[in-house]
């Protein structure tokens, strides 16, 4: 069992950080609940791996505490934590057989004989490695090696959480699906906390119940996949999740009205005047911006229409600002002139990138 709590955690690789720019990880508080399937999503260099290494104990954070079930583990070495980690590149001890690889973490912890054997066979069975048990680690395929890396984590009876650091990067695309479903099945079967680091939104959204989006060393949103999609808490989340990403347009917002490039549009919620020189933007996903015949809504100029198979996406310009919109199936576009209809409930207001809560009705 492990409920992992991060208290006021921050990390800087510099000895004397002068300002926020020196932090690989900006101060954060977060709780990973026992048994959760989490994805840690963000672009390369956003601090995902740093956070993971702090949880597993490979790195001691420069500030803050890490608590497992209320016990302070911040300074404790990796060996003393009930956590396993799977790395981007599979780690397999070449000179050992698959069996010995799986037995390695147990033998290192002083287990011998039948305890080891039973456990190794159980895990090998779970991962479909039984036929390979007597083969050397060398010469196995990347996905088999990655399964062994994972198996060395699962085999330990004490493990309460498994951390994955972009584990499918070197796996063939058709095997990625298989391994990912395997992970899902393991998560359901074993009641383990799993934290899965990735920069691939599909991987994150299909694996996790809760997605933690990181940007520039900070957590920008934590939520279910549908929340991330429908209510991005930060324009970065809007951009990063969804394909194409959310349209973000500079706007003036007052009450239930936003003005974009000289055109007014209605909002579902009321907003106070946002002062203090903040950069005000509205964000709306292409899925909630519908192209319509000219005159029906905001006037736009159609630049291009991409047929993505399931949907058609139009690249349009609204008063010179580029955005993407969905083309309804029934609409046939002739010429450049068209208009745009927003779903008011799905138009969000951002100040300096952060979501501004509106007052409902």
């Amino acid at each position: 069992m492990a409920r992992i709590e991060l208290r006021n955690l921050a990390h800087s690789y510099a000895a004397n950080p002068a300002g926020p720019q020196d932090y690989a990880l900006k101060p954060m508080d977060h709780v990973w609940e026992q048994g959760g399937a989490y994805a840690l999503l963000g672009p390369s260099g956003c601090g995902k791996t740093t956070l993971l290494n702090i949880i597993s104990g490979l790195l001691v954070p420069s500030e803050g505490r890490v608590l497992f079930d209320g016990r302070d583990m911040t300074e404790l070495p990796t060996q003393a934590r009930n956590i396993a980690q799977v790395f981007q590149f599979p780690v397999v001890y070449d000179t050992m057989t698959v069996y010995e690889n799986l037995a390695f973490p147990l033998r290192n912890r002083g287990l011998r004989g039948r305890d080891v054997d039973a456990r190794v066979r159980e895990i090998a069975d779970l991962l479909d490695l039984t036929p390979d048990l007597n083969r050397r680690g060398r010469g196995l395929t990347a996905d088999a090696k990655q399964k062994i890396s994972l198996g060395r984590g699962l085999v330990r009876p004490d493990v309460a959480a498994i951390l994955f650091d972009e584990p499918l990067t070197v796996i063939d695309p058709h095997l990625k699906w298989e391994l990912r479903s395997k992970l899902k099945a393991l998560h359901r079967a074993l009641d383990l906390t799993m934290i899965y680091v990735t920069h691939d939104q599909t991987e994150a959204l299909t694996f996790a119940d809760t997605v933690v989006v990181m940007h520039d060393g900070a957590v920008v949103q934590i939520g279910r996949p549908d929340e991330l999609f429908e209510r991005p808490a930060h324009t970065f989340v809007g951009h990063f999740i969804g394909s194409p990403g959310m349209n973000v347009l500079p706007a003036e917002v007052a009450g239930r009205r936003a003005v974009v490039g000289g055109h007014a549009l209605a909002l579902a919620r009321g907003y106070p005047r946002i002062g203090g020189g903040a950069r005000v933007e509205i964000g709306v996903r292409p899925e909630f911006a519908m192209l319509a015949p000219a005159g029906a809504g905001l006037p736009v100029r159609v630049r291009r229409i991409d047929d993505l198979g399931r949907v058609r996406i139009a690249k349009v310009e609204l008063a010179g600002l580029p955005l993407a919109a969905t083309v309804p199936e029934t609409l046939s576009v002739a010429g450049e002139e068209a208009s745009l209809l927003f779903d008011p409930a799905m138009v969000h207001v951002y100040a300096d990138g952060h979501l501004v809560e509106g007052e409902a009705a």
């Binding site: 490979l58 070495p77 060996q79 790395f87 001890y93 010469g139």
Partner: protein, 294 residues
Amino acid sequence: MDKPVNQGAWLLVLPVLLIVAFSAIVPLMTVVNYSVQDTFGNNQFFWNGIGWYQELLDPTTDLGGRFFDALWRNLLFSALILAIEVPLGIAVALSMPREGWRVAATLVLMALPLLIPWNVVGTIWQIFAREDIGLLGWAVNRLGIPYNYTADPLSAWVTIIAMDVWHWTSLVALLCYAGLRSIPDAFYQAARIDGASRWAIFRNIQLPKMHRVLLIAVLLRFMDSFMIYTEPFVVTGGGPGNSTTFVSIDLVKLALGQFDLGKAAALSIVYNLIILAVCWVFYTVMTRMDSGRN
């Protein structure tokens, strides 16, 4: 369809053939030629067949006795320095820094002994170990340990072994260090998560990665130490008595001191064949061990 045959291509190989013949094959054949003849000077040669070889390989003769004594000394010397330099080199490589400015500093310091000309190394130790003016010899004697490499065979052996270790451990260490550097960090991190002890990490991660470079290190050190000449010649001149007379030193005495060209040539050929044979055995055994792991 037959491939076109162009005999003119032989011409392209000819220059290499000529150079190799000029630099290696002809000189070697000259040695073979000397080894089956005897001479009494005046450039007059007499056919002796395999006589010199028979004498050389028979320990009861004067020549054979000398040869086998020197050969055992040589083998003992090689065994001792391998037994010291390989573990020591691994230990040094393991404790070398892995990042930062210290890496460059360490590498330069380590490479220093390798850059010194061999007779200079001999001269340094010849002086360093002297009991009257040498720092080492003087200090050891002041500690109450009798030490004099010009009179005592044990002192002489200790001196040349210490000198060889000082000179060549860096090579083993640098080779091992290169092997260690090729291990990705993830292996160490995974090992920590697996709860591996320091010894388990060495045994299962570091040693397998060093295996190939160690093969090269052992081969190089064996060949070099088995052919050693310059350093012991400068330090002890083969003495006291014959206690540090290795095969190469004896060979020079035979060829240039006594001018026994026939005997010296036969000795050269046998010496060469021994080195080749031992290297082949080392190589075969170690590559077998390697493939046996698969």
